[in-house]
């Protein structure tokens, strides 16, 4: 009798709880949509300009978030140092632009284009090497240890990389020379997209397509997916697991490098920029479903839009003082209510 009686109420609560939560969730989303609509009707031009800012920052977030998601997918490790790798890459790219290529923004368009491309490639190579070295020094030996060990080591690595930036570039903010004009590339109904914003999107899209193709269709990508699923089985199938993991870190570092260049083209950076941006990007990765490439991109864009709307919309926006709280609030809500993220699949062990 008692045995039969106990599961009953439990079942009932199970069935009831998602309902209440989804009602709350829908209400919340409705409020947000209403807020966006009010702003859209009030000043459509401002709305779309803000949305374009969101698209640009969101693209950078997406690139950083992909680095988190790649590493998490293969090692189940939150690579805390990733944000700092991104910041160091951005700072190094400023040195490359100014010191190595001597760009000042007054050159011919072709020179600027080639210089930017060179900077991008060199920075990506730098980021890849740095990230793979971090894995080699800090994480590889710890793979057989309890998982927290590697995570703590990642926190330590983050501080080390941040202090390397501090040692080289001191506490001053750095920015790129005005290479790209802020002249509008095109204007539709008063909404204009300037060149320095457009280039971010122009670089991000091919990178994303290339990455997706690589992971889905190449042999190396297949090895990565196999290693992510089961390292032992992958090793038995003849996959060099150490090399595959190194390659993943190389790839993530290259993405951080490209994100660093693109971020520097628009904003100022210094040694600790990477910490907060890294957290935001990680939030984006979790939002989209960690381990999922499309999810990280989607998450990055959503966070970019949220931040831009929060800081830029004229009516009822909380303002930039609260950006961090809002982003982390979203992170916590996602982890609590839908740990697998927007596009992720629910794994048996949960999140």
């Amino acid at each position: 009798m008692t045995v039969e009686a106990t599961p009953e109420p439990r079942l009932r609560t199970r069935r009831k709880r998602p309902d209440l939560l989804s009602v709350l969730g829908i209400l919340f989303v409705l409020v947000i949509v209403a807020w966006l609509l009010v702003n859209l009707i009030d000043d459509p031009q401002q709305f779309f300009n803000v949305a374009l800012i969101g698209l640009t920052t969101g693209s950078v977030y997406a690139l950083v978030a992909l680095g988190y998601t790649l590493v998490y997918g293969i090692l189940q490790l939150i690579n805390f140092a990733h944000g700092d790798v991104f910041a160091l890459c951005g700072l190094v790219s400023s040195s490359i632009m100014i010191g190595l290529f001597d760009l000042s923004g007054s050159e011919a368009v072709v020179v600027i284009g080639l210089g930017l491309l060179g900077t991008l490639l060199l920075t990506m190579a730098f980021g890849a090497t740095l990230n793979a070295s971090i894995e080699f020094i800090g994480y590889r030996r710890l793979r057989s240890q309890p998982r927290l060990t590697m995570l703590i080591s990642a926190v330590g690595m983050s501080f080390i990389v941040q202090n390397i930036s501090l040692a080289i570039y001191d506490v001053n903010y750095r920015s790129a020379p005005p290479l790209l004009s802020s002249e509008p590339a095109f204007t539709i109904g008063g909404v204009s997209m300037s060149w320095n914003k457009l280039i971010v999107v122009l670089i991000t899209i091919p990178v994303l397509i290339g990455l997706t193709w690589m992971v889905r269709s190449t042999k190396q990508g297949k090895a990565m997916r196999a290693t992510a699923q089961n390292q032992d089985a992958a090793a038995m199938m003849g996959i060099n697991v150490n090399r595959t993991i190194s390659f993943t870190f190389l790839l993530a570092g290259a993405l951080a490098g490209s994100a660093g260049v693109l971020y520097l083209l628009q904003f100022q950076m210094r040694y600790d920029t990477g910490f907060e941006l890294g957290l935001i990007a990680f939030t984006a990765a979790v939002l989209g479903g960690i381990g999922n490439l499309a999810g990280a991109t989607l998450g990055g864009l959503i966070i970019g839009f949220i931040q831009a709307f929060n800081e830029g919309l004229p009516i009822g926006s909380p303002g930039s003082d609260w950006t961090r709280s809002i982003v982390f609030g979203i992170l916590i809500a996602i982890l609590v209510f839908r740990p697998e993220g927007l596009l992720g699949e629910r794994t048996p062990e949960g999140a």
């Binding site: 189940q76 490790l77 939150i78 020094i137 800090g138 030996r141 710890l142 793979r143 057989s144 240890q145 309890p146 998982r147 927290l148 060990t149 590697m150 995570l151 703590i152 080591s153 926190v155 330590g156 690595m157 983050s158 501080f159 080390i160 941040q162 202090n163 390397i164 501090l166 040692a167 390292q231 032992d232 090793a235 697991v241 150490n242 910490f275 957290l279 990680f282 979790v286 003082d321 609260w322 961090r324 709280s325 982390f328 609030g329 992170l331 916590i332 982890l335 609590v336 740990p339 062990e349 949960g350 999140a351």
Partner: protein, 405 residues
């Protein structure tokens, strides 16, 4: 019960005989208790190589307070194995509770409860600081439960990131909450100050009819020191007693293998929440005491680095090892407050090196963390059980790493 006693070599029964450990402990305690006197009499003028001088008494107070927080964090990270990267939030809650209950921040009201050492006509809420410490501990524990309840279902690394999120949200909230619908809750970036200091026996002094000059014959900083020491000893005592308790053994079971612990009937949520609440409790007391010592709660102090600093103490000392954490906490806080700048000064003056040690302090902590993880993950003074786990592995290990290294 009998089987439990024979089968679990979990806790070594403290032996009654005076061992070397006891002797060291009593000597250290005597030294700690007499430190302000020693400092005044001889250590203050003495200079030592490299470190230059002994830590001042006020540095010693800060050392003790941070060590107390580290011992609290050790309950969460060391005992229960829940990586908490936002412990600074509890420190902030404790400090602001002291700010609300023992300062002139709320000028609208005038409430005095058992207050001592505070002029009776001051406006604001003035509760006796010793009571405030308890209240702060309780409120922080409740905050720990509130943070814990929704998040503790998550796996270890997600928990780390959520606690980190809370550790970032609370300081930002505190910074921005000077105008919540027109109400000034936290005084924004200026922080709440001044916060009352503890009465230090004013009431007792008066009731015994002793002259006020008797009480004033004690240096206030020394009184702070001794109170901090008592609080630290209380924390250490509780934390050691907790480890051997039913709850403590449940934490260790969860740390080693959550699934197995659940199968053995350990209620996961309740046990984890208890770890959070108790860890937060001590963090809150330490935060409130520190706020009173400094005379204010300032939002600029609650940043992520403090959480990592505390975590570094726990790791360096040895996760789960109370004495290790105490030792590491004292050393690291000393280095943070005085040591690193002294060493830096020594390096620049006595050697050809030119290196600002204090500027790179967090880089140095980062190096410590990574090196410890790589070469001695059990810490300076390892806890026996933890050592076993690291050497023999726990249930989450993959076979892969061992074979291919």
């Amino acid at each position: 019960m009998a089987t439990e006693a024979t089968q679990t070599p979990l806790i070594r029964k403290p032996s009654a005989k005076p061992t070397i450990g006891w002797i060291i402990g009593i000597a250290a305690l005597a030294l700690a208790a007499l430190y302000p006197v020693l400092y005044e009499e001889m250590l203050g003028e003495m200079s030592i190589p490299v470190f230059r001088e002994w830590p001042s008494v006020s540095t010693a107070v800060i050392m003790i307070v941070f060590t107390m927080m580290a011992v609290g964090l050790n309950i969460v990270v060391g005992y229960a194995g829940l990586l908490d990267l936002g412990y600074v939030a509890f420190y902030a809650v404790g400090a602001y509770t002291a700010g609300w209950l023992a300062s002139g921040h709320f000028q609208q009201v005038k409430i005095h409860i058992l207050s001592s050492g505070v002029a009776a006509d001051l406006r604001g809420i003035h509760v006796n600081l010793w009571v405030v410490l308890l209240i702060a501990g309780t409120i922080t524990a409740v905050a720990g439960i509130l943070i814990g309840l929704p998040t503790l279902r998550l796996r270890g690394d997600y928990l780390a990131i959520v606690t980190l999120g809370f550790g970032e949200i609370i300081p930002q909230f505190v910074r921005n909450a000077d105008n919540l619908g027109g109400f000034n809750l936290t005084a924004g970036t200026f922080g709440i100050n001044p916060i009352d200091s503890p009465g230090f026996g004013t009431a007792l002094n008066d009731s015994l009819g002793l002259p006020i000059s008797f009480q004033q014959s004690f240096e206030k900083i020394n009184l702070f020191y001794w109170s901090a020491l008592v609080l630290l000893l209380f924390t250490i005592f509780c934390s050691i007693r907790l480890r051997g308790s039913r709850l403590g053994r449940a934490w260790i079971a969860i740390r080693e293998d959550e699934t197995a612990a659940a199968a053995m009937g350990v209620p996961l949520m309740r046990t984890k929440t208890a770890a959070y609440a108790l860890g937060a409790f001590f963090g809150g007391i330490a935060g409130a005491f520190y706020a009173s010592f400094k005379g204010g709660a300032f939002p600029s102090e609650f940043f992520f680095n403090i959480s990592v600093f505390l975590l570094c103490m726990v790791i360096l000392g040895g996760m789960g090892s109370v004495w290790g954490v105490v030792l590491a906490g004292l050393i690291l806080t000393y280095l943070n407050q005085e040591g690193l700048s002294n060493i830096g000064g020594w390096l620049n003056n006595e050697t050809p090196l030119d290196f600002e040690v204090a500027k790179y302090q967090f880089g140095i902590y980062g190096v410590i963390i990574v090196l410890m993880m790589l070469f001695r993950p059990v810490g300076l003074i390892p806890e026996g059980r933890r050592k076993q786990e690291i050497q023999e592995g726990t249930a989450t290990d993959t076979l892969y790493g061992e074979r291919h290294e």
